[in-house]
């Protein structure tokens, strides 16, 4: 489902120096697999997810999602691939504040192959327990409810790969556990591969397959030497 090789990304620091953030030799994820990456703040794990999602272009290397080599695709086709095959759950949810809960989900779907299927969006929101909040705006919801909208939006297009960036980072312990259980359950239902990054040990402990991001990111290894 996902294969990453020799993926590199550098940024220019405010001091004008080239700083390598991501340097991953090889990483792969099978269909339906659920994998957790442990990483501290600033370790480059969000950048890694952005590179996988095609939001950010790598300096070099390869990202293959469901057989499609990201770097070989034009930007519009990369956007299309992201809309069709990748669901992204952000730490800060990134909901559109001017849109209702239902619109947030249908809008996410509208860029994918199935279009804005309102009935399916409603089903997804009911699935995450928000069937009674369809016409509310994000700011009218609790933090936990907002995260559930983000989950519904990310999974509404039945993506083959779900990227979750600190999905419980802004939630209290109970809400965090519930949100995580929901993400994992829905991914299982949809046979979607899940790549989750977190620094929360409680979250990481729930994954059978997990790894330190520093183990696969040579940039961190070099910086710490």
């Amino acid at each position: 489902m996902l294969a990453v090789s020799e993926l590199k990304k550098s940024f220019v620091s405010p001091e004008g120096q080239q700083v390598e953030i991501v340097n991953v030799g090889a990483f792969a994820l099978a269909a339906g697999e659920q994998f957790a990456l442990r990483g501290e703040s600033g370790s480059g794990k969000t950048t890694f997810l952005h590179l996988i999602a095609g939001i950010l272009a790598p300096d070099s290397g390869s990202v293959v999602v469901d057989g499609a080599e990201m770097s070989a695709l034009s930007e519009p086709r990369r956007d299309r691939l992201r809309a069709e095959k990748i669901g992204y759950i952000f730490q800060t949810f990134n909901l559109l504040q001017g849109f209702t809960v239902l619109e947030n989900v249908t809008l996410g779907m509208s860029f994918g192959p199935r279009g804005a299927d309102k009935a399916h969006a409603r089903d997804m929101l009911e699935r995450v327990g928000l069937g009674h909040r369809l016409h509310h705006f994000p700011q009218q919801l609790s933090t936990g409810q907002q995260q559930r909208v983000a989950v519904a939006r990310a999974l509404a297009n039945r993506p083959k790969l779900v990227l979750a960036d600190e999905p419980t980072g802004n939630l209290d312990h109970k809400s965090g556990r519930e949100a995580l259980a929901l993400i994992r359950e829905v991914c299982r239902e949809h046979q979607a591969a899940l790549l989750l990054v977190s620094h929360d040990e409680d979250v990481l402990a729930q994954f059978e397959t997990r790894r330190d991001f520093s183990d696969i990111n040579r940039a961190v290894q070099e910086a710490s030497q």
């Binding site: 794990k45 930007e75 299309r80 800060t92 990134n94 001017g98």
Partner: protein
């Protein structure tokens, strides 16, 4: 559905700025249409307003003043035409009809014009003749009677059977009341011409009004003429204007008014220039309004891109949003146009009796709104390009 939803929500999120900007567009579009329509209609209507006469004979002076005085009942008379001159022109073989008029008095600001009942047998426009409202009759030539034009009657609250005393002069002065009592015998039906603003009395009634100079009791202010042929106009022009030096022959009436519009064309141009400038400022305000909102919307745009929206979708959404503000402004612009035009038309009617038609059609009524929408869309190009270039990863959550 996606694009309309994005546009609708964005416009709602910035409702105040949307409304203010659309208001500017509406004002510009309405102003443009109003200036254009008033200009074209006023020119067409005034030059066609001859009240059925081809020419006017009056005292030596400006032809324009003569036409304004005798046809539009606006200016003061340049002087009198002696009874002998009137008789001569009346009997001239080139003249079909000669109607004398005398001015110099008013009723609370509305002009009294003395004339003969034959005036009301003339067609004031093709296929249109004067008619009295039910229950009224024409004044008798030698009686102290009056027939009121519809607008004057309405403004002064006159009805058949009312009596009044005229005031001397063309401007109302309460101290200058004449001692003569006139009775209203009829009211003219509306003609949408300057005739509506006049109270008509018998020629003798005005000439022999108490306080008027008895030496001028047979003089008239002007003579309205219908010619037997267009060639007659040229011959009369030669006779009165080139060979004579006592009288002025104003012919053709429409061309003389057209000359007036020619002289004040610069005023139209200034108004049009102001309207164009308002349009440009309005388009600029669309640019500024959307551009300024870009900072607040960068995150939303980045989220849309992260969800899979293409750059061109974002570009199109911002451009269409600008055009939508233009559409909103253009729609409200029609209301502005109707309000402005109605106000201007009322002033013109009150001042001249000429009626402009607010429902009349002209190409400018669709060209102006379309041009405003186009200008707004153009104003949206810069912010749309900025939106197009929104860096997704940088704008979303900080990297970790």
């Amino acid at each position: 559905m996606t694009l309309p939803l994005i546009i609708y929500r964005s416009l709602r999120q910035h409702a105040l700025s949307t409304l203010v900007t659309a208001g500017g567009i509406a004002l510009a579009s309405g102003l443009l249409m109003c200036v254009w329509m008033v200009k074209t209609q006023a020119q067409a209507t005034f030059t066609q307003t001859t009240t059925g006469f081809d020419a006017v004979l009056g005292a030596r002076g400006s032809k324009l003043q003569l036409v304004l005085n005798a046809i539009f009942h606006m200016e003061a008379s340049a002087g009198n035409v002696a009874a002998a001159d009137y008789e001569m022109v009346r009997r001239h073989p080139l003249i079909k009809t000669a109607i004398p008029i005398a001015v110099g008095d008013n009723l609370r600001g509305f002009r009294l014009v003395g004339t003969v009942p034959e005036l009301f047998k003339v067609q004031y426009a093709p296929e249109k003749t004067f008619a009295l409202e039910k229950g009224g009759r024409m004044f008798t030539a030698d009686a102290k009677e009056a027939v009121a034009g519809s607008f004057a009657a309405q403004r002064l609250g006159l009805k058949v059977g009312d009596t009044f005393r005229p005031f001397h002069g063309l401007a109302f002065d309460p101290k200058a009341e004449h001692a003569d009592d006139f009775v209203i015998t009829g009211m003219l039906e509306p003609t949408n011409t300057p005739v509506d603003r006049v109270i008509w009395i018998p020629l003798r009634g005005l000439q022999t009004m108490s306080g008027h100079d008895p030496k001028a009791a047979t003089d008239v202010s002007a003579v309205l003429l219908q010619l037997r042929s267009p060639m007659a106009g040229l011959q009369m022009d030669m006779m009165y204007n080139k060979q004579g030096n006592r009288l002025t022959f104003a012919y053709p009436v429409g061309a003389i008014i057209a000359e007036l519009f020619g002289k004040i064309a610069w005023f139209d141009q200034v108004l049009a220039l102001v309207a164009y400038l308002v349009a440009l400022v309005a388009a600029g305000s669309v640019l500024a309004s959307i551009y300024n909102s870009m900072s607040a919307r960068r995150r939303d745009l980045a989220i849309l891109r992260a969800l899979g929206a293409k750059r061109r979708t974002i570009f199109g959404a911002v451009l269409a949003e600008a055009a939508c503000i233009g559409v909103l402004g253009a729609i409200v612009g029609y209301a502005v146009y109707f309000a402005l035009f109605t106000g201007v038309a009322q002033v013109i009617r009150a001042q001249t009796g000429v009626v402009l038609d607010v429902t009349a059609y002209h190409h400018v009524l669709w060209i102006s709104p379309l041009a405003m929408i186009g200008l707004c869309a153009l104003g949206g190009v810069v912010p749309a390009f900025k939106a197009y270039r929104t860096p997704v990863a940088e704008t979303l959550a900080p990297a970790s």
